[in-house]
């Protein structure tokens, strides 16, 4: 789960990371109020989970509450790379001496933690990594050893951060790491980490991603989840607990069990010349109810012309899947759309027999995954490869 900047800063502040004074606002009037309360020059920043908002006009400096209100009015409702701006963060503006970069993340490849720092902050760090890799200091932090003074020292001396900022920036890094551990984050990133004219360093931006598997330890973070930022179908899937759903742009609905098999199903649909309308992995142990809910969800997208159900039973029993499909069709009533069904694995013969007996006009049985994909594509209107 990715946090918005204002949420990330709230969380980092709890662990002692210094952040600018400010508050989130959902309306121009609220932004004005925040600006008035802070007094002096403020920055109004679009809250979107995507980079490049500065270039897109999503960050504006305002000298007065009036200007802050105007800035918020201009920013709220903007679309930045497909993300609609629904909130702005209004913060006190300070005199920045220099911009640095700092982050901790889970390094999947090395199966450890990775800390990074750079004197080249305030710019796209992936670009720095590509053009000037030596400007980024990296240290692997063994999860059992934890962040130690020598890690911080290596990040400070290796990054080119000015020695006069080592103490403050080092302390910030220690707190940032505490936040990383304490929130079960997969990433905490501060870019830019700025040194201010008055002395001291501040996290001027914050990107925090929380491990979804650890949410049971963090009800406070779960409460920050912004379902409003999701699409309607995604939200429904999340709220009703219908597996893992991602909206796509095509007309062939896809339901599979297991992420890998479902991804592979998308691929064979594309290979057959169709375009998948969605990714929906109903997970292990799916049953009649969850199957019915999944079908309901996919057909909620009017662009869907055909549904492809691709199940390889392991824990999941194919007979229950078959019953779920029939149940869903009964509940949906007068559906014209066809469902291509391919069942294999645990209780596949029973499942196929159930469907055969039902002889439902909307159900098309397929013997293999490839055949199923081809049929679904044809039923959805044939090859559309651009």
């Amino acid at each position: 789960m990715d946090l918005f900047e204002y949420q990330g800063k709230q969380v980092l502040a709890r662990f002692g990371v210094p952040v600018p004074e400010g508050k989130v606002a959902a309306s121009p009037a609220a932004a004005r109020q925040v600006a008035a309360k802070l007094g002096g020059k403020v920055v109004v920043k679009a809250q979107v989970q995507v980079g490049g908002r500065g270039k897109a006009g999503g960050i504006k400096v305002a000298g007065t509450p009036d200007e802050a209100e105007a800035a918020a009015r201009a920013i709220l409702g903007m679309h930045i790379k497909g993300h609609r701006v629904r909130r702005v963060l209004v913060e006190r503006a300070g005199d920045i001496v220099v911009e640095y970069y700092a982050s901790f993340m889970l390094d999947r490849s090395a199966k450890t933690f990775l800390g990074m720092a750079s004197a080249k902050g305030g710019v796209d760090i992936e670009e720095v990594a590509a053009t000037d890799p030596g400007a980024i200091a990296r240290v692997q932090v063994d999860p059992l050893v934890g962040l130690r003074p020598y890690h911080v020292s290596q990040l400070m001396w290796g990054s080119g951060i000015a020695p006069e900022h080592h103490k403050a920036a080092g302390a910030l890094l220690e707190r940032l790491f505490a936040a990383f551990l304490g929130t079960d984050a997969s990433l905490v990133e501060v870019n830019p980490l700025v040194a201010m004219a008055g002395g001291g360093v501040v996290a001027l931006d914050a990107k925090v991603s929380i491990d979804d598997s650890a949410m049971f330890r963090h009800p406070d973070l779960e409460a920050m989840r912004d379902l409003g930022a999701m699409g309607k179908q995604e939200r429904t899937a999340k709220e009703r607990g219908i597996g893992n759903f991602v909206k796509l742009e095509g007309e062939v609905g896809v339901i599979g069990n297991g992420a890998g098999l479902t991804m592979s199903t998308l691929d064979v649909v594309a290979e057959a010349g169709g375009r998948p309308a969605n990714f929906l992995d109903i997970g292990g142990g799916a049953n009649a109810e969850s199957m019915a809910a999944a079908i309901d969800l996919v057909f909620g997208d009017r662009k869907v012309r055909t549904l492809l159900v691709n199940i390889f039973g392991g824990i999941t029993r194919c007979d229950l899947i078959a019953e779920g499909i029939l149940g869903a069709l009964g509940a949906l009533g007068d559906v014209k759309k066809k469902i291509v069904v391919r069942l294999d694995g645990t209780n596949a013969e029973e499942g196929r027999a159930i469907l055969e007996r039902a002889a439902h006009p909307n159900i098309v049985a397929a013997g293999t995954m490839l055949e199923a994909a081809q049929r679904a594509v044809v039923l959805a209107g044939g090859r559309r490869r651009a």
Partner: protein, 291 residues
């Protein structure tokens, strides 16, 4: 000799008295797996799975009394990391963790300890492993495969079954099939398993099933080029996955340009690995590689 697991392996099941634990242990036993003990704290002295398996309070007890040397973990996510450590310290040389949803931080702390102790950890969030005709540890359906010359390894669950099934319908069985799991941090990596297949006389061809995200496949590709003499065939899922969107388990996050299915395919092919465009073609490539 199969890799990691054979009929002599003495398996203890952690969480044996839970619903999943009982169900899959029964299936594993019926497959022929030598399940010698179960562990559920507080139920020591009882017998589980229709009275067939003695239950202990601790893995140490199961190791001491029943000589267990491999553990299969069906414990709920918030306790599973602890269970892996327990099995490791009790002296199991193989630990297979099926449990899904273990926090990555917990696994990050488990991994270096397990590694330092020289334990082969498979998973978590994996279907387990099967040496067809010998033993089955986990949830892979045993009936869709049989013994044969193919070593199979995969980050995925049901997709693995699909590939096994594609092979089996063509009369092709496996020496061992290992689902390494799709979580951000898993125990055995592709390379760890490839190394074992290379050394295994029963394995003639290796089939590797990858997916988008991470760089496991790229690292494996280089390992194959530099260190393997046996032919390796691959399949990668996720060509149609949109960049930056999450697809199910955490192993499937695209991070920039690296980690795409296309990038993985290119690296694999550059390292001499034939890559099938779908599971069917992957199975057919494996047959071809057998010659």
């Amino acid at each position: 000799m199969s890799i990691l697991l054979d009929s002599g392996t003495r398996v203890v099941v952690q969480g044996i008295t839970g619903g999943e634990g009982t169900f899959h242990t029964r299936r594993n036993i019926e497959y022929g797996t030598n399940v010698v003990a179960g562990v559920t704290p507080g139920k020591g002295g009882q017998r589980a799975v229709d009275g067939r398996v003695p239950v202990f309070n601790t893995v140490a007890g199961a190791v001491e009394k029943e000589g267990a040397d491999a553990s299969l973990v069906f414990v709920p996510a918030r306790f599973a990391a602890d269970s892996i450590l327990e099995a490791t310290d009790a002296g199991c040389s193989l630990v297979v963790c099926v449990t899904e949803g273990i926090p990555a931080l917990d696994m990050a702390r488990v991994y270096p300890h397990v590694r330092a102790k020289g334990v082969a950890l498979v998973g978590p969030n994996c279907p387990g492993l099967i040496s067809p005709g010998k033993a089955n540890m986990g949830i892979i359906p045993g009936e869709i495969t049989g013994p044969g010359p193919i070593g199979l390894l995969s980050r995925s669950g049901t997709l693995t079954y699909q590939v096994m099934y594609e092979m089996w319908t063509r009369g092709l069985g496996q020496s061992t099939c290992v689902g390494i799991g799709g979580d951000p941090i898993v125990g055995s990596s592709f390379i760890d398993v490839l190394e074992r297949f290379e050394a295994d006389p029963e394995t003639r061809v290796v089939v590797m099933i990858g997916e988008i995200g991470g760089d496991e496949e790229e690292k494996a590709a280089r390992f194959i080029r530099e260190r393997m003499t046996k032919p390796v065939v691959a399949y990668i899922a996720g060509f149609t996955a949109p960049a930056g969107k999450r697809m199910g388990h955490a192993g499937a996050i695209i991070s920039g340009s690296k980690g795409t299915a296309q990038a993985k395919k290119e690296v694999l092919e550059a390292c001499g690995v034939a890559v099938g465009v779908n599971p069917t073609e992957a199975a057919e490539l494996a047959i071809k590689a057998l010659g």
